[in-house]
């Protein structure tokens, strides 16, 4: 699937992981560039045309969050952050300041490639002016014009709020959405961080679209971060 003109910047201080990332990208015929520090990364980002950034949050010199904030001042380039397991807080923060996705160490090549794919697809979808009126994921289909959702071709009864929530997920398939982001999109800023309301609504929605709410097929939970609609 590699498109030769796409250039990915790997920002990672650990040499082994950097080699691993480079190897995977090379195997998939991506063009790539590596940086072992935040400074190096910023230089590349400013001087070169970069199409995606894979950024380790634990860099020795600059805080990963700062890099994301700076980049977002001028660029919408997709950013995938890489972090350790106990860095949830930072993960969620990174997403909130503009990162597109995250990976938890240790991760496999398959996982990484899936994230890269989602990142690019989402990026291109957002930049294209054409909007789809209908999207299908598995047996679940949404029609934005008619504002209806069908499960196995049968329209299901959902509240307007639930529709908005589901529509938000359909527009961001494969991408993790933080609780904060969803709250802002659905309820507006006034609701602050009432995660309880969102959780209850998610539970209700899942009972309408999932066969088993504890093993969902469509929208999965990313504990401590948010939710993600899976690509089938």
């Amino acid at each position: 699937m590699g498109q030769l003109h796409e250039k990915i910047l790997i920002v990672e201080d650990d040499i082994q992981i950097r080699k691993f990332l480079s190897y995977i990208l090379e195997n998939e015929s991506f063009e790539y560039k590596t940086a072992s520090s935040g400074k190096e990364a910023m230089n590349s980002l400013i001087s070169e045309s970069i199409d995606m950034v894979i950024l380790d949050l634990g860099l020795p010199d600059i805080d990963g969050l700062e890099i994301i904030k700076k980049v977002r001042e001028w660029s919408e380039v997709p950013i995938i952050v890489v972090s350790a397991r106990d860095q949830d807080q930072e993960k969620a923060q990174a997403l909130d300041v503009g990162a597109d996705d995250y990976l938890t160490k240790p991760f496999s090549a398959t996982e990484l490639l899936a994230r890269i794919r989602v990142g690019f697809r989402h990026y291109y979808r957002m930049s294209s002016t054409k909007t789809q009126s209908e999207i299908e994921v598995g047996h679940l289909k949404i029609n934005f014009d008619k504002r209806i959702v069908c499960l196995k071709e049968e329209p299901i009864h959902i509240t307007p709020m639930e529709y908005n929530l589901l529509a938000l997920f359909f527009k961001n398939i494969g991408k993790v959405l933080t609780t904060k982001f969803i709250l802002k999109e659905i309820w507006g800023t006034a609701y602050g961080e009432d995660t309880q309301a969102l959780r209850t609504m998610m539970a209700g929605l899942r009972r309408k679209i999932e066969a088993n709410p504890a093993q969902p097929q469509y929208i999965i939970t990313e504990i401590g971060v948010g939710y993600r609609m899976i690509e089938q």
Binding site: D14, Q16, P106, A109, R199, A214, T221
Partner: protein, 493 residues
């Protein structure tokens, strides 16, 4: 005897003075006053009520005999004297009893003062002691002084066992150590005692009771012990109590020092472990990544493929161990504040299944839970870890075709939820059940390889569940072969 003599003298003197008054022509009322004074003096200088009352009666008789006509007889001409006698006797008795009582009180106060002084001395000397032996030494010295004898003391060590010797006072300035051979019987005797002391052929043994256990014995020779007055006994008991306080204090401070040291060591150990784990994590991720890279470059029929696969699996296991160590040190640090929030249990279960099946392919995990959403106040990260560890444990002891079940039940009566994770593996050996949650306890059922090492997984489960105020148990399934882990979590936190 001396009191009777004193009484005689005073009454005689009073009679003499009375006689002098009559000869000087004073009315005999003055004589009555003189006698009253005499009774007062007698009460003052004798002890007890007896002499005062006796003196009152004698004084009246003397007055009648010597100073009322007909003189030198016990009869009277003027019946009005009878009234005088009655009043005189009554006045004398009241005066004498009052005086006696004051005196008795003074005596008691003096005793109290002595007791207080002795206790104060003892307490102040005991305050600065640092060793049990020092306390015993001071105690026997003081008690010996108070009882005017030589007492001995045997103390129990911190483990509650008696020492094999008595510290014995020999003279006011000398103490010796007397070894005994029956120290093993002492415990029994002490346990059988209800009165605070027991007796053998030579000694009374008073027991020094601490707040929680027996601290020692004070022995007093039988002859002395049997003659002890109530006041002395009171003092003795108070002194023993003070000794107990001092001994308790020393043991407590020693215990505190020790537990402080343990806490510090524990913390240092935790810090070290945490530091190492943190540093191990990055290179382990690197090795896992490199192994995966090598795998993709190697033909799966190549012998090296399996070797690399082993490296990868072991490293993945090591990595999860490191993560577990990090969670555990966080939990055991004591200062862990659970980040409790109301969480939907289904979301946690969902993530745990996805996490586990990512590493172990082809296993069937089914979930049965109440239709309505179950909200539990938990630290989601920790409970997620509990589910992951229990599922991994189930997978390690099971085979792919056999389903692993997660059952969630709401117990509204007891306001808790119960989660069962059941596998159809070989089950747990009964003898190992009690140890299964211990750190690094690994099943002996199979040879140890990367699949069967348990390490810290179950320990974390237990620690995390207990920290949430829940319970966790492991048992074998009754319906089919297999193990089940059952834990509960309170619904209101």
């Amino acid at each position: 005897m001396i009191h009777i003599l004193l009484m005689g003298c005073i009454l005689g003197a009073a009679s003499g003075i009375g006689n002098l008054f009559i000869e000087l022509g004073f009315p005999e009322t003055n004589v009555v006053i003189i006698y009253l004074l005499a009774v007062l003096l007698i009460s003052r200088f004798t002890s007890g009520y007896v002499y005062g009352i006796l003196a009152s009666l004698i004084a009246t008789i003397l007055f009648n005999y010597l100073f009322t006509s007909p003189y030198y007889t016990l009869t009277v001409d003027n019946p009005s004297y009878l009234l005088t006698f009655i009043i005189m006797t009554t006045a004398a008795i009241i005066t004498s009893t009052l005086t006696s009582r004051i005196q008795l009180n003074t005596l008691k106060a003096q005793e109290k003062e002595n007791e207080t002084k002795t206790l104060y001395n003892l307490t102040s000397r005991l305050t600065d002691t640092l060793e049990i032996k020092e306390v015993a030494s001071i105690a026997i010295q003081s008690i010996s002084q108070v009882l005017n004898t030589n007492v001995g003391c045997l103390y129990f060590n911190e483990n509650g066992n008696p020492s094999d010797f008595f510290l014995q006072q020999k003279s006011p300035t000398q103490q010796t150590t007397e070894y005994i051979t029956d120290e093993n019987n002492i415990k029994e005797k002490v346990q059988g005692t209800r009165r605070g002391f027991y007796i053998d052929a030579n000694y009374y043994y008073w027991i020094i009771y601490g707040q929680e256990n027996v601290l020692g014995l004070i022995r007093i020779s039988t002859e002395v012990a049997e003659q002890i007055t109530d006041a002395q006994k009171r003092t003795l008991l108070s002194m023993i109590e003070n000794t107990a306080l001092a001994m308790d204090r020393i043991y407590l401070s020693k215990q505190r020092a020790r537990s402080n040291e343990e806490t510090t060591q524990e913390r240092q150990k935790g810090d070290l472990l945490r530091g190492i784990s943190h540093d191990l994590r990055t290179p382990l991720s690197g090795i896992i990544a490199t192994a995966e890279m090598l795998l993709s470059m190697t033909d799966d029929k190549d012998v090296r493929y399996l070797m690399i696969k082993d490296i990868q699996e072991d490293t993945v296991w090591l990595h999860s161990l490191v993560e577990n160590v990090l969670s555990l040190t966080r939990l055991q640090n004591g200062k862990l504040s659970l980040d409790k929030k109301s969480e939907a249990l289904e979301e946690i279960i969902d993530e745990s299944i996805r996490f586990v099946t990512k590493r172990f392919h082809g296993y069937t995990i089914s979930v049965e839970m109440p239709q309505e959403m179950v909200l539990v106040p938990v630290d989601s990260k920790l409970i997620l870890q509990v589910f992951i560890n229990l599922l991994e444990n189930a997978i390690k002891h099971s085979v792919k075709e056999r389903e692993i079940r997660i059952i969630v039940e709401k117990d509204l009566k007891q306001n808790k939820i119960q989660v069962t994770i059941a596998d159809k593996g070989e089950g747990i050996i009964e003898a190992e059940l009690p140890n299964i949650f211990e750190p690094f306890y690994t099943s002996r059922a199979k040879h140890v390889d990367s699949k069967n090492r348990v390490g810290l997984g179950l320990t974390i489960c237990e620690t995390a569940i207990l920290a949430h105020g829940g319970t966790i148990t492991a048992q074998n399934r009754k319906d089919v072969s297999g193990a089940e882990f059952i834990f509960t979590l309170p619904l209101k936190g």
